[in-house]
Symmetry: C2
Subunit: 203 residues, 2 copies
C-alpha cells in the first residue's frame, strides 16, 4: 500500500472496498426490495424493519418515494418511461449504498416484472432480496393510507397500480409476507430470519 510521495508523483491507493466496510460495520450489506400494491404495507414494514435493525446495531437506509421523488427524481413523472427511469436510478443508487456497506431498504410499488429484473441484474447473487408484500386488493383499498384508491375511484388519479394499471406479482421472490394474514411483528420476524439464515448479520 506504500507509494512514491513527492510533489509530482502522488500516492494512489486503491479505494476501500465493500468487504472492508463489512469488517468495520461487523455486518454485510444487501438490498431488501419491497414490492406490492399501494396500501399493502411496504412503508410500514420498511420503517419497522429499519427500527429493529438499528437496535441490532445494523446500518440501514430506506430509499422510497419520499426521499427520491422529491430530490433525485423530481424531474420524472409517472409515464411508463419515467417510471422505468425512476426505478433504474433507484437501482443504481441502491448499488452505491450496498457498495458503501449499508443494508439498504427500498419500498416502491414497482409493478413490472421487467423493471424489478432490471434492478436485480445490477447486483451480485444473493445481494438483491425481493420481498413480496402480498395483500388482496380489497384489503389494500380498505386501508387506503394515502387516499389513493379514493382518488382513483373519483377519477382524480389515472393509472393507479392494482386498480387501473397492472401489478405483476413476483414469480420467485426471496420472501413473501401476507399482510392480511399476519401482523407486522410476524412479517418482520420472517424477514429477520431470512437475513440471519443468509448470514447478513455476521461477516
Amino acid at each position: 500500500m506504500q507509494g512514491v510521495n513527492n510533489n509530482n508523483i502522488l500516492w494512489h491507493k486503491g479505494k476501500i472496498n465493500k468487504s472492508q466496510r463489512w469488517i468495520m460495520n461487523k455486518h454485510k450489506s444487501a438490498l431488501i426490495w419491497f414490492t406490492g400494491l399501494p396500501g399493502s404495507g411496504k412503508s410500514t414494514l420498511s420503517t419497522e424493519l429499519e427500527y429493529r435493525l438499528y437496535n441490532m446495531n445494523i446500518r440501514t437506509y430506506i430509499l422510497d418515494g419520499d426521499n427520491i421523488r422529491h430530490g433525485l427524481n423530481k424531474d420524472l413523472n409517472f409515464s411508463p418511461e419515467d417510471r422505468r427511469e425512476n426505478l433504474r436510478r433507484v437501482g443504481e443508487v441502491a448499488k452505491l449504498f450496498v457498495d458503501a456497506g449499508i443494508l439498504t431498504i427500498a419500498a416502491f410499488a414497482s409493478p413490472y416484472l421487467e423493471d424489478r429484473k432490471m434492478v436485480r441484474n445490477l447486483f451480485c447473487d444473493g445481494e438483491f432480496i425481493e420481498v413480496y408484500v402480498k395483500c388482496p386488493l380489497e384489503i389494500c383499498e380498505q386501508r387506503d393510507p394515502k387516499g389513493l384508491y379514493k382518488k382513483a375511484r373519483n377519477g382524480q388519479i389515472k393509472g393507479l397500480t392494482g386498480l387501473s394499471a397492472p401489478y405483476e406479482p413476483p414469480v420467485n421472490p426471496e420472501i413473501i409476507v401476507e399482510t392480511d394474514k399476519m401482523d407486522v411483528n410476524e412479517s418482520i420476524r420472517i424477514i429477520l430470519d431470512y437475513l440471519d439464515r443468509n448470514n447478513v448479520f455476521k461477516i
Copy 2:
C-alpha cells in the same frame, strides 16, 4: 414508540434519523467536495483521505466519475445541460449518503461556481465542505494522469476544463490545498485538521 398492532391498523414508527445514525457510528456525516482542474489531484486526495478515515473507523464513501458516469448518470453526456444535471444528481445522492450517516467524498472537476452553489444549497450549514484542489494548469498538464490534456491538444477532446473550457475557482472555499506546493500527506493533514476542528469526529 409503541403503536396499535392488528391486521388492519399497522404500526407506523418514524424512520431512524441522521442524529441516531451519528450516535451508532460515533462520528458525524458531511459532504467533502473536491473541485479543481483535471490532474490537480482530486482522485488521489479522495482515495488517500478515504484510506486514512477508514483507519480512524470513520464511515466514508467516494462519489466520482467512475461510479456515477457508468451507472446512475450513464444517460448523460458532456453538454453544459448534462454536466449540470450530472452534478444535480450527484448532489442529491450525496444528500442521501450524508443523511445515512456517511462522511461522503465527491471528486468532480465541477468547473462552474453556479453548479457548485446548487449542490451547496442542498445541504445544511457546515455540511458542505468545499475543498479547492489548487494547482497551476501547466503542472496539471505535465501530470496528465488520464492523458486528457494530450487528447485535447491533439483535437480528440473538445471543451477540456482549464484548457478549452472555463474553470471558475471557488471564491470562499472551506479548504484550499495547493498540490504543486505540498505533498499528499500535507494536503490530507489540512483536511483532517479541518474536520477535527469542526467536530466531525465526535458526536
